[in-house]
């Protein structure tokens, strides 16, 4: 079963999702990678406003290729999420509700997700040309000097995602690998 969601997300929605759920995400999300995360932390330390209000929002860890003429966006797939882990608990404490990336998260992020009620989605790493078709608009809203690392507002239409880590700490990577290995053992026997 596929769950259709629209960002921004409520805490209730985030807490209702379970690791392994297939999701089609629409609505508005924001891109931010390494450099933008460092700047967001600096803003919070100095008490300055962020490029967007974090409450309920979803951040997509992505830096697209340049936009070809006649298209809304270039190729856009997820980058490795764990590099954003140092900044993530702080952003979750300020209301961040969801993250889209690829790969594992550290224990501090998972604990903060459980505490604040947030969800981590995995997009298919490397399927960047396919995912471009799920983005209907892309606008740089901050830190243009960072080039591919600037903060962009994206409008999504049915971006295919998997709930990788849920707000109870359920982990689709561990669960999926264990389920496959159990089935592979059964086949051999």
């Amino acid at each position: 079963m596929t769950i259709r969601l629209t960002a921004p997300l409520t805490e209730e929605t985030a807490r209702s999702l379970r690791a392994g759920d297939q999701v089609l995400l629409s609505g508005e999300v924001y891109t931010a990678r390494d450099a933008a995360h460092l700047r967001m932390l600096e803003c919070l330390e100095k008490g300055e406003p962020l490029p967007f209000e974090l409450e309920g929002q979803v951040i997509y860890y992505a830096g697209p290729t340049p936009t070809p003429s006649g298209r809304p966006v270039g190729s856009i797939g997820p980058t490795t999420s764990v590099r954003m882990d140092a900044a993530t608990p702080t952003l979750l404490a300020h209301g961040l509700r969801g993250m889209i990336g690829k790969g594992l998260r550290g224990p501090a992020v998972v604990e903060a997700m459980k505490k604040h009620g947030a969800v981590y989605f995995a997009a298919v790493g490397g399927a960047a040309a396919l995912m471009a078709a799920c983005v209907t608009s892309c606008e740089v809203i901050a830190w243009d000097d960072l080039g591919p690392e600037s903060v962009k507002r994206l409008t999504l239409k049915d971006l295919p995602l998997v709930v990788a880590v849920d707000a109870c700490g359920g982990d689709a990577f561990a669960q999926g690998q264990a389920a496959y290995l159990a089935s592979a053992t059964n086949v051999k026997e």
């Binding site: 992505a62 190729s75 080039g147 990577f173 999926g176 496959y180 592979a184």
Partner: protein, 279 residues
Amino acid sequence: MREIQASAITEAVAELFVTANRELPEDVARAMERARTEEPWAPACGILDILRENADIARRDRMPVCQDTGMAVVFAEVGQEVHIAGDFEAAVHEGVRRAYTEGLLRKSVVGDPLRRVNTGDNTPAVIHTRLVPGDRLTLTAAPKGFGSENMSRLGMLTPAQGVRGVKDFVLETVRIAGANPCPPMVLGVGIGGDFESVAELAKRALTLPVDGSNPDPFYAALERELLEAVNATGIGPQGLGGRTTCLGLRILTMATHIAGLPVAVNVSCHVTRHRTVTL
């Protein structure tokens, strides 16, 4: 002496990087097809189907297969009988600049590792040059994404650790990498040499046909054994479980010191790009 103009090198490099980023190499596409037929786990098949569709869209719409269009790595084999009219390295950098600006590829390079300002045109390239007999110049473009590069490792093993130690090191690298490098991975393994040459061997191994095998039967068997072991970890496509953790593993070796056994694993992904032209 045969003369090659620097401008011809620039044009060749520009074309190689644009095409390499839009069209999955045939060997990688073949390995993906084969992996799909051998994958028994339905969720993993679903992901492999998405990856195949993505590669088709990229080729059709002339878009990069992956948004990480990489750091521009160039392997050059320069014939001793070639005279290059102009500045060789400047010509390569200019080709990269053209490919990444005019070809709408992502600019993913910062000019200084700690002060981190984007150079704006993906230069400089990483250039490995080798002198070879003959009057030809062979250029291989291998744009390298860093999601997988970051998971690469180098170990200075002891001779006593031997082949067992090499196998353990490769599998440990794969387990640490897990879901991070966009599995299914491609693995380039360097064994021997010294500290810096073993890393270059591993990178060079990623430019070999992913479904080929080492000409030395001993290492061909080790390639097969390691590939099988990696595909028994259960990591699977995107780390969500399945057989297809690795599409192919290639080994390159060289002589080493009596006291050492260097090993390097250069981790790459299902978008392992390499494209070669001979001028």
